[in-house]
């Protein structure tokens, strides 16, 4: 116990001496939450589109105006299609609406009129926005225009409701989600270099000649970085709920408990990398590839896991952020669903223990792996 305490004290002092790890634990969450709050907008994306009106009817001029007045759209008027094409290629506009010359004639006859919408398919997300904005602005216009009397009321209408987030404010789920990504990053990056460093600087050799056991070395790394990570977590939650007023409806106790388990899995990944690769360059490359990128791409934060091919759905089962993101979003937005808490906590605990075991197995109490030759084993049994 005393040995462990000494190692923890040592590690904490080292963390305090090199400000870069502290900075990363607090500055990175801050930057990323700021960006998600102010830099990224996933709800009402405003797009710039071009408009070309081939119909001379005065009524269609009001349609052009409605595009101009919409708060979701910036519109630029064009006279010929060539200019529209150039503008789309240069990303000046994300799409265009062309009103054909028979537009008003058809509407006044009570027929369906075509409205041509061009999108920039190279940006699929915005292309979808352009489509749906054009559709809703045009329909809105139709219901107030003088052609309204020619329309027929639809027999089935859809009433959409979104639970837990009725205002559809994406910050409510993307900010807690970003916490998970930063936590992954901090947990993995900070620890992926620390064991490698002790070998490089020769301090490991000195430690190994004292009474230090394997378990001390492993816990001596886990605990201090766990503390740092939890402080960073606390800071993250404070930023989310205290500063940016993201509603938190769940239980703080469980949030910290399960965040703690999640953090342990990340530390486990980092320490495994560190004890396997005794080279800081390779360790950072692998930490990025196994830590940051999958946390961003495969965790369900950006892309729905359900829609992935089967094989990749199974692959995500090995990713701790997947469970954590599911838990954290639910905890923030619903006020806690027991099934979700238990399921995610279970998988996280399992992965955490598995990784701890891997780290333990990869930590040597000597400079080389114990040979498996029978002669050592026999002596060992004799000695015990």
């Amino acid at each position: 116990m005393k040995i462990l305490l000494a190692l923890i004290k040592k590690e904490i002092k080292q963390i305090l001496r090199d400000p870069s790890s502290i900075i990363i634990a607090f500055v990175l969450p801050f930057i990323s939450i700021m960006i998600y709050m102010y830099g990224i907008n996933l709800d009402s994306v405003k797009v710039t589109i071009g408009i070309k009106n081939d119909d001379n009817n005065p009524e269609t001029a009001t349609l052009v105006k409605s595009f101009g007045h919409s708060k979701y759209v910036n519109s630029i008027n064009y006279d010929n299609e060539k200019d529209i094409e150039t503008a789309i290629v240069r990303s000046k506009i994300k799409g265009a609406v062309i009103i054909p010359n028979d537009f008003s004639t058809k509407l006044s006859k009570g027929e369906n009129a075509d409205l041509m919408v061009i999108t920039d398919g190279s940006e699929v997300n915005t292309a979808n926005y352009v489509q749906s904005y054009a559709m809703s602005i045009a329909n809105q216009w139709l219901s107030t225009s003088k052609f309204a009397k020619n329309t027929v009321k639809p027999l089935i209408s859809v009433e959409s409701r979104t639970w837990y987030n009725p205002d559809l404010n994406s910050h409510y789920f993307i900010v807690p989600g970003s916490v998970a990504v930063t936590m992954t990053l901090i947990g993995i990056l900070l620890t992926s270099l620390v064991v490698a460093r002790e070998w490089e600087r020769g301090t490991m050799e000195a430690l190994l000649s004292t009474r230090v056991r394997k378990i001390h070395i492993v816990l001596g790394k886990y605990i201090p970085y766990f503390l740092l990570g939890m402080l960073s977590m606390l800071f993250n939650v404070f930023l989310c709920t205290g500063v940016f007023q993201i509603p938190f409806r769940g239980s703080y106790l469980l949030l910290f408990l399960i965040s703690g388990i999640f953090l342990l899995t990340c530390l486990g990944i980092g320490l495994t990398i560190s004890s396997k690769l005794k080279n800081q360059f390779l360790a950072s490359m692998v930490a990025m590839s196994l830590g940051f990128m999958p946390a961003l791409m495969l965790s369900g934060l950006m892309f729905p896991i359900n829609s992935m091919p089967k094989f990749f759905q199974y692959l995500t089962m090995f990713l701790p952020p997947r469970y954590y993101i599911s838990f954290v979003e639910s905890e923030f937005m619903t006020g806690g669903v027991y099934e979700i808490r238990i399921e995610n906590a279970f998988y996280l605990t399992f992965l955490g223990l598995l990784l701890f075991f891997v780290v333990y197995k990869n930590t040597f109490s000597s400079l080389e792996k114990k040979p498996k030759s029978s002669f050592v084993n026999k002596q060992e049994r004799g000695a015990l």
């Binding site: 830099g39 990224i40 907008n41 369906n112 409205l115 329309t151 089935i156 950006m302 359900n306």
Partner: protein, 370 residues
């Protein structure tokens, strides 16, 4: 003079290549890791929401309601349907994320259709996964409206949106996301390769030896910048080849423009990496600085949400972000077939960034000596 210069630069480059390339582990990780990620992400990163699980609370025992639901069942996007008979179970399914959306049909559904008042279908989506839930309820809307149109015998004026998606007629998400992923992976690799290169030599003490040799700052800069540039260039081209050959993404633009744009983009990124490396004393500091640069740079590159939509202050800030132009160029040339006039305006900021960072880096090499 020039020959001396070249001789030294080539020697330094050769040394860098050997250190990176001779070690099979290093080589494997530098090339293998990004390609592995490309293959995984390209399959997994999809916005085409599939396999939607649905909970249904149908209070209308009518033919119309049954018919509507069978439309859902026949759609390929929907997978499992849980039919429940009370609000409690309905809520539970959504709470526990067993389903992504819920359909609720009231008992007056059929009556309202028959008397022409218009019936309503309630679609409830799970706000915890706003993106995919919104897409899923969009699908539900399409199905319901289409069915409503079919059973309606009155015809009136309406607007028919006919969409043409340029450069990507079927709006294949893969086309878009793969160009983004390639750019992101080469960004990560290039930054790690360059940012650790000087910091590592500082840590090991070999940088002193370099400085004591007659190598000038400019020669060190060239020798340090070209090898990672070449390696990232090769890596990017391999990945581009993979997405063309295996994922059948049509390459619309000019190869020469594409190559030169990648070159210029990577040059700017190499500049940033070398500058970070020059100001850091240890590899840990370097890798943490890279993260602090990369995270905002990727998030604000326009890949998650468009730049025009950011606060004005951040829009100006993105002019300093090489990733922004890198993404515009790869996607633009690849999918949209940008021509020289379109591309050129994106080159200028990149060249300026490259020039500034590389100059700063080469000045910092020796200023750090104390």
């Amino acid at each position: 003079m020039i020959r001396d210069f070249l001789r030294r630069v080539i020697a330094l480059m050769k040394k860098e290549f050997i250190t990176i390339w001779k070690d099979p582990k290093t080589k494997g990780i530098i090339i293998g890791m990004p390609i592995m990620q490309l293959l995984v992400f390209s399959n997994a990163a999809t916005m085409e929401v599939q396999n939607i699980d649905t909970v249904v609370l149908n209070r209308s025992q009518s033919v119309e309601a049954r018919e509507l639901l069978s439309r859902f069942e026949n759609s390929t996007r929907f997978r499992t349907f849980y039919y429940v008979d009370n609000e409690e179970d309905f809520r539970k399914k959504i709470d526990t994320q067993k389903v992504q959306i819920g359909l609720h049909i009231n008992n007056d559904f059929a009556r309202n259709i028959k008397n022409g008042n218009g019936a309503s279908l309630q679609v409830i989506s799970d706000g915890r996964q706003t993106n995919s839930a919104a897409i899923a309820s969009g699908y539900a809307l399409q199905i319901a409206v289409k069915y409503g149109g079919e059973i309606n015998d009155k015809k009136g004026a309406g607007i028919n949106i006919s969409v043409r998606n340029w450069f990507n007629p079927n709006l294949e998400y893969k086309w878009y996301i793969l160009t983004v992923i390639v750019a992101m992976l080469s960004l990560v690799t290039t930054l790690i390769l360059t940012s650790l290169s000087i910091a590592r030599e500082r840590e090991l003490g070999t940088f002193d030896q370099l400085i004591v040799s007659p190598l000038s700052s400019l020669e060190i800069l060239f020798g340090k910048a070209i090898p990672p540039l070449c390696i990232s260039m090769v890596l990017t081209l391999i990945m581009t080849g993979i997405i063309i050959v295996f994922f059948h993404i049509p390459f619309a633009g000019s190869i020469i423009l594409f190559l030169s744009s990648i070159f210029i983009s990577l040059l700017a990124i190499v500049g940033v990496g070398l500058y970070i490396s020059a100001i850091c004393n240890t590899q840990q500091q370097a890798i943490l600085s890279v993260m602090t640069f990369m995270m905002p740079a990727v998030l604000l590159s326009g890949f998650i949400s468009p730049i025009e939509d950011m606060p004005v202050f951040l829009q100006y800030l993105t002019w300093l972000n090489p990733v922004r132009f890198f993404m515009v160029l790869t996607r633009g040339i690849f999918l949209k077939g940008m021509i020289f006039e379109d591309v050129f305006s994106n080159w200028i900021p990149l060249l300026i960034i490259a020039f500034i960072t590389l100059t700063l880096a080469s000045r910092t090499f020796k200023r750090k000596l104390g």
